[in-house]
Amino acid sequence: MANILSPQVAAEQPLAATWQSRLFRSTLNNRSLTIGLLIITSLGVVALLAPWLAPHDPYLQNTANRMVPPFWHDTGSWTHPLGTDRLGRDYLSRLIYGTRISLFIGIVVALISGLIGTTLGVLAGYFGGRVDAVVSYLLTTRLAMPVVLVALAMASLIGGSMLTVTLLLGLLLWDRFAVVARSATQQLRDAEYIQAAQALGCPLHYILLREVLPNIAGALIVVATLEVANAILLEATLSFLGMGVQPPSPSWGLMIAEGKAYMFFQPWVITIPGSALFVLVLAINLLGDGLRDLSAPGGRNE
């Protein structure tokens, strides 16, 4: 699962001799994949290089310089290209550091929930019978719980923090992984190459990890991208409601929450982090869509 965002779907199209070049070409031909990949890569670079890219310290308060509007306003200046918040902190720097929080939570949540969901789903699909009954019961139980409500309740019990949010979401968002892994494994279970491996006396972990997993990875990668976007939005929601990442961390959801008192007179306070969130989630969804097209048999890419 370490390759969620890397183009491992490659092997989906078995064109060994030149599969790299063919993959490259079909990636370029797929517009949504290209755009999504471009945006996410640049946001990833921004997150990695935040200390060097940010013009100011995102935590440095300057009450003499509060609510400076962005550069396109008459009173705006290029010292603070996106203005400052109510405590005089540079908005662009906070936005740049906020990319780290969003991407970190999105990816780590997808990894945790992917691990849980894939394990449960593959076991349920492979063994069927009682194992399947237990996993299906867990799954329906999980689906009966409203994510935001449960996350809010738990966060208010334990106390919100980045770690809490990540773990909570990771433990809550595994349902789609489990559903997809289960049905994909059920289809594979009776494939003759699985039987051949069983007849050879291959150990169970070999069959599950080397024979089953690579063949369902394509579908799981698509689910993973969707869950990354989902987790980022949920983090913003929880932070907005005050139960997620705590101030003074520059989470985008928190920035929107802190700006909501000003939204009628200085709307940029919430539109800027809001747009950032929109662009990131859109890019991830475009990527997921593109990956699905690429991994679909026959390729639906125009």
């Binding site: 078995p14 060994a16 001799a17 051949a196 069983q198 050879l200």
Partner: protein
């Protein structure tokens, strides 16, 4: 006598009263039904021979193959390979003696692995040789099944059906098993490729001294390949004998109908009328007495009451019995 025979010339494969029963359905509201997929099958396959197993689809051929491979435990009875029982045997130890070649070469190879990985898998799992020795063995094996060297680096998706079946054969034979279960290995292939694969199987059999259990519903294929033949109907063996005995003088009415149903290459003749009437009965509710009597052209009242036993045909000589050449048939009137 039979224990002496074991020491002198151990049978490659012996099935003793093997049965497999499945429970179907059986929820809270339904009563579960039982399906006797394989019912009291006994069979002896001498070393170095090709035993053909024919019958309609759904007669239990594939379930039988799964039990031999250790993929499904039998409900009753024993499987002896080289005189040793395999029930509860270690799967790895079993895999050294018996290997499968499956029907569909499009689903029997993992599409995510290169041919070298697929063929070398048995060696890796069983820890035979260093990785260099394994690579050499894989190359030799590919050469033996008539695949070029460069095939090793290809993926199954880049190969034709015939080539894929060659890969499947290479994987089955790389550990030099004694016994190979061929589960309709040519039925998914083009007719032009079928002959190549069959001849390859025959060549390899001589080269490695293999014993085949060849499962098929294609009589032409079996006639080309098999030394002996067993005919299955609804989970039971109804007739067994040498190829000549079965093809020239079939005793059981079902075998006769099966032979009559083989299509001829002559155009215009259409599908032959085999006089069997309706299809196979529901295997969860097998007919009383002889399972074949509802479709049998020569059925008598006693057939619906008394099940015939699979017994040796009288005139086979003592010599033939000892060599396992005896013919058996399960019919009151054969």
């Amino acid at each position: 006598m039979s224990s002496v025979a074991h020491h002198l010339d151990p049978l490659a494969l012996e099935l003793c009263a093997l049965s497999k029963t499945f429970k179907l359905g059986g929820g809270m509201l339904h009563k579960s039904r039982t399906l006797k997929a394989v019912n009291d099958v006994s069979l002896r396959v001498p070393r170095g021979q090709v035993m053909g197993l024919v019958g309609e689809s759904g007669c239990g051929k594939s379930t039988l193959a799964k039990m031999l491979l250790g993929l499904t435990p039998p409900s009753a009875g024993d499987v002896l390979i080289n005189g040793k029982a395999i029930v509860n045997a270690n799967q790895k130890a079993l895999a050294r003696h018996i290997q499968p070649i499956f029907q569909d070469p499009y689903s029997s190879l993992n599409p995510r692995q290169r041919i070298a990985q697929i063929v070398g898998l048995p060696l890796r799992i069983h820890g035979i040789g260093t990785s260099k020795e394994q690579a050499v063995k894989v190359e030799e094996m590919l050469d033996m099944v008539g695949l070029p060297k460069r095939a090793a680096q290809q993926y199954p998706g880049q190969m034709s059906g015939g080539q894929r079946q060659r890969v499947a054969i290479a994987r089955a034979l790389i550990m030099r098993p004694d016994l190979v279960i061929c589960d309709e290995p040519t039925s998914a292939l083009d007719v032009s490729v079928q002959a190549q694969i069959l001849n390859l199987l025959l060549d390899l059999k001589d080269e490695f001294g293999l014993t085949y259990l060849f499962i098929s519903h294609d009589l032409a294929v079996v006639e080309h390949l098999a030394d002996r033949l067993a005919v299955m109907y609804l989970g039971q063996i109804v007739e067994e004998g040498t190829r000549e005995q079965i093809f020239t003088a079939p005793r059981h009415p079902y075998t006769q109908a099966l032979l009559a149903s083989a299509l001829t290459p002559e155009p215009g003749l259409g599908v032959p009328d085999i006089g069997l009437g309706a299809g196979q009965p529901d295997p969860t509710q097998p007919p009383s007495g002889c399972a074949f009597h509802p479709r049998c052209p020569v059925a008598q009242p006693t057939c619906s009451q008394q099940a015939p036993t699979l017994s040796a045909i009288a005139q086979t000589s003592d010599q033939a019995t000892r060599q396992g050449n005896q013919a058996r048939v399960a019919c009151h009137f054969a």
